[in-house]
């Protein structure tokens, strides 16, 4: 093996070890096992993994492989994995190892290739682990023999392209300063919607039209939507629809679906794509690799001059620019700092919570603008507008400005300093939780008061929804050590809630549509306590044992 291959192999192996030894990977794997058990209910249950119309799909290997691979490809690979792997270069910068790496004979292209293959190896291993768990579920809940090769082929067909795509794009985003910031995280979320969801309907229509016209698929007539369907949802759904003669109007449902037990079960065969489509997908997959040239060109190779310039550029996003413009506003907070001293001087707990909230406004002057803007809008807008869009915007502000409230000191290495403050160590979780929640309530102060008179149930939902988001910010933040998980999770929740348009009361977590029943409100309050317990456990694990 020549030196270049030796170096690439070392980078891949080290990345793989580092990721697999993280507690979060173990948590993820346990979550996958739980999800597998929950998502494939017993055939006698009143809901199922996959249904066609009102009929349940038989639990055979092709059906379970297809349904679980699609779910995993869309959410696991397409979305979550991006946020999991888009920190491999940053890790080398933050850990300080990058300085040492830069002075070795390792070439930049070897580093980028190693990181890319490390991403592919990690995601492939994760996919295989998930697939094995699902194969195990066939032996537990299956109604037909386990066919391992069907699983392998189906997962390869649906997931492989997404693995390559996310592995490349995460590296490209990470090396381009502006895209490596939170703005990049948000942009990727939009990319995921565009590439994951958009091609589905289009492919279904094209496929149906061609089927009716009797046009055979060839390499020359592969629809564009099939090329951009990098997470495999559109192509595999259209293939199954073709097989069972269904379309979206007849209701092919993957995930938790209700069904009529009186109807005979539908037997799904292995997903098969036209050869032309498979070739097209393979070509697109290979086509991602040249994009690594962008990552290579943008890679700073830990040069302090370029890193400094990168840091400057990554701050040149809209939020940071706004923050810079509004910086003078943060001086207003000095008045309140003085008030904390004089009014709350003797009350330690209240003073600390107030200081935490004030620190958010001092660090993020844009939060002051959000506070004023949302409350002024809350005064002048009619009640329906207060409910939507002002309440969702207040929730978004809460997520954005409190995402790092539980971890900012840890990220800056000043945890010990903070925990030495009287009462802080014992009440850390409660202080952070209250600070985040009260911060959220200040964004929605006027809307809450108006809703309390006009629609009390909605006001209660909004307050509980904000409590839920605050608990997530603290619990998830402390458990994972990053703000990304909360941002991604919240974006998915917001997306689902807005898309359901109030039809599904369980998704109306903050009362935006007024459809949340008391049971839903209680459910989110209990879930919030669960996240608080998670945060408390993680905090105790890190500090309490010392």
């Amino acid at each position: 093996m020549n030196d270049a291959l030796l170096r690439i192999r070392a980078i891949v192996a080290t990345d793989f070890i580092l990721r697999f030894r993280r507690t979060s990977t173990l948590v993820l794997f346990v979550a996958m096992c739980v999800l597998a058990f929950v998502s494939i209910p017993d055939p006698s249950a009143n809901w199922t993994l996959m249904s066609v119309g009102e009929a349940r799909a038989l639990y055979n290997s092709p059906a379970i492989a297809f349904a679980t691979a699609v779910n995993f490809s869309v959410l696991g690979i397409g979305l979550l994995s991006y946020y999991m792997i888009s920190n491999s270069v940053k890790r080398d910068v933050v850990s300080g190892v990058g300085n040492t790496l830069a002075a070795t004979a390792m070439r930049s292209w070897e580093y980028i290739a190693g990181k890319f293959l490390g991403n592919v190896a990690f995601l492939t291993a994760l996919t295989l682990a998930y697939m094995l768990v699902m194969m195990l579920m066939v032996t537990v809940r299956g109604e037909a023999p386990l066919e391992p090769m069907v699983f392998l082929r189906t997962y390869a067909l649906i997931c492989l392209q997404g693995i390559f795509f996310v592995s490349v794009i995460s590296l490209v985003f990470e090396t381009i300063p502006i895209l490596s910031s939170r703005i990049g995280d948000f942009i990727y979320f939009l990319v995921w919607i565009a590439l994951g969801i958009a091609p589905v309907e289009q492919l279904e229509k094209i496929n149906l039209a061609r089927q009716q016209a009797g046009v055979a698929p060839t390499l020359s007539n592969v629809p564009i939507a099939a090329y951009i369907d990098v997470i495999g949802l559109g192509t595999s759904m259209s293939a199954i629809n073709q097989q069972i003669g269904a379309d979206s109007s007849k209701g092919l449902s993957v995930g938790a679906s209700t069904f009529n037990p009186a109807l005979p079960v539908v037997v799904i065969r292995e997903v098969e794509l036209p050869t032309a489509w498979i070739i097209a997908k393979a070509l697109t997959t290979l086509g991602f690799i040249p994009l690594l040239a962008i990552a290579l060109a943008a890679f700073h190779r830990f040069d302090p001059t370029r890193l400094r310039a990168s840091a400057g550029r990554s701050k040149r996003n809209i939020v940071a620019a706004l923050g810079a413009v509004l910086k003078p506003l943060s001086r207003l907070t000095t008045i309140f700092w003085g008030m904390i001293q004089s009014l709350l001087g003797g009350q330690g707990f209240v003073r600390i919570v107030a200081a935490e909230i004030l620190l958010v406004f001092t660090l993020h002057p844009a939060a002051l603008l959000a506070l004023v803007g949302l409350n002024v809008a809350g005064i002048i807008a009619p009640i329906p507008k207060v409910q939507l869009p002002i309440a969702p915007l207040a929730c978004l502000a809460l997520v954005f400005f409190s995402a790092d409230i539980g971890i900012r000191e840890r990220q800056r290495g000043s945890s010990a300093l903070l925990l030495s403050v009287p009462m802080m160590k014992e009440h850390f979780i409660l202080i952070k939780l209250l600070a985040a929640w009260i911060l959220g309530l200040t964004f929605a102060l006027v809307p809450l008061v108006r809703l309390a008179f006009a629609a009390p149930g909605v006001a209660v939902s909004l307050a509980i929804g904000m409590f839920f988001l605050s608990a997530c910010a603290v619990g998830i933040g402390i458990a994972t050590g990053t703000a990304k998980t909360l941002i991604v999770g919240s974006l998915i929740l917001f997306y689902l809630a807005l898309n359901s348009n109030g039809r599904e009361p369980a998704l109306d977590f903050a009362g935006w549509f007024g459809s949340a029943v008391p049971m839903v409100q209680v459910g989110y309050a209990v879930a919030a306590l669960g996240f608080v317990a998670l945060g408390w456990s993680a905090h105790w694990w890190r500090t309490g044992r010392a």
Binding site: A10, T14, I17, S95, G96, N99, A103, A105, T305
Partner: protein, 303 residues
Amino acid sequence: MLVLDSVTKRFSSGVTAVNALSLRLDKGVVGLLGPNGAGKTTLIQMITTVTKPSAGTIFYNDVDIVKSPDAMRSRLGFLPQDFDVYDNLTAFEFLSYFAALKGVRSKARVGELLEMVNLHTVANRVASAFSGGMKQRLGIAQALINDPDVLIVDEPTAGLDPEERIRLRNILSEIGGEKLVILSTHIVSDIEAIATHIAIMAQSRLQAYSTPEELLRSAEGSVWKGIVSSESFDSLRSQIRISGAVRKPDGVHISVVSAHKPFEGAAQTEPTLEDAFLFTLQKAGADTRAEPTTGKRDKAGAL
């Protein structure tokens, strides 16, 4: 042979970290001394090819390493100032990783180096849980793993206990017999026993480059010592720069680096290397009040 010619590093902010520095270095231990912010780390980053100079050239064995950095990287061992390790990798794995990056294929070499820095008994422990001194020793091991021709260590004694410091100095001294070792520090005692040459940087420029003996000679007649009362010491401290002071029963024993007799009763004395360093900085017009520090004086209770 490492030749730097008019090397300059200017940041986009307008700050010049290194200004037109020229130097020729051959084998031996070169102590790179200078106060914080003098430009030492930036100079080292340019020599190690981590960053490129804004102007000037750096040649190693007649190869321009700004244009062909691999010529230096393949023969380099580097311990940066803020060296750290990954979470969750053992010392053995971490060192094996760098061995692979540097093209070292022998696993025995990894074990050999761990033994050399006295980490062989904890080779399978996660390195991020190591103390600062242990991490620094692991850093030294990774710098030496490829048996480098040029070894560059930036502030290597940070976090090391006295025994480890001596051990490190011995290692560097031994390597310096055949190869080029550049040791950057602001602690004079780190280099006074082992440096064959000393380069002093201040205010982004090279202020002196000579052997320790020449440097000591340059400060002859400029170092004064004397005993003063505590009251006089307090007033003297505001008038002149005192390079060393130790309280004793008969008064405060002070030493001063100055071209003229600094106070009544002061007597000329032999300069130490630290005095010579301070003298060079004074000539350069650099602020010497906070720098440098020595282990010996710290322990003796410097004021």
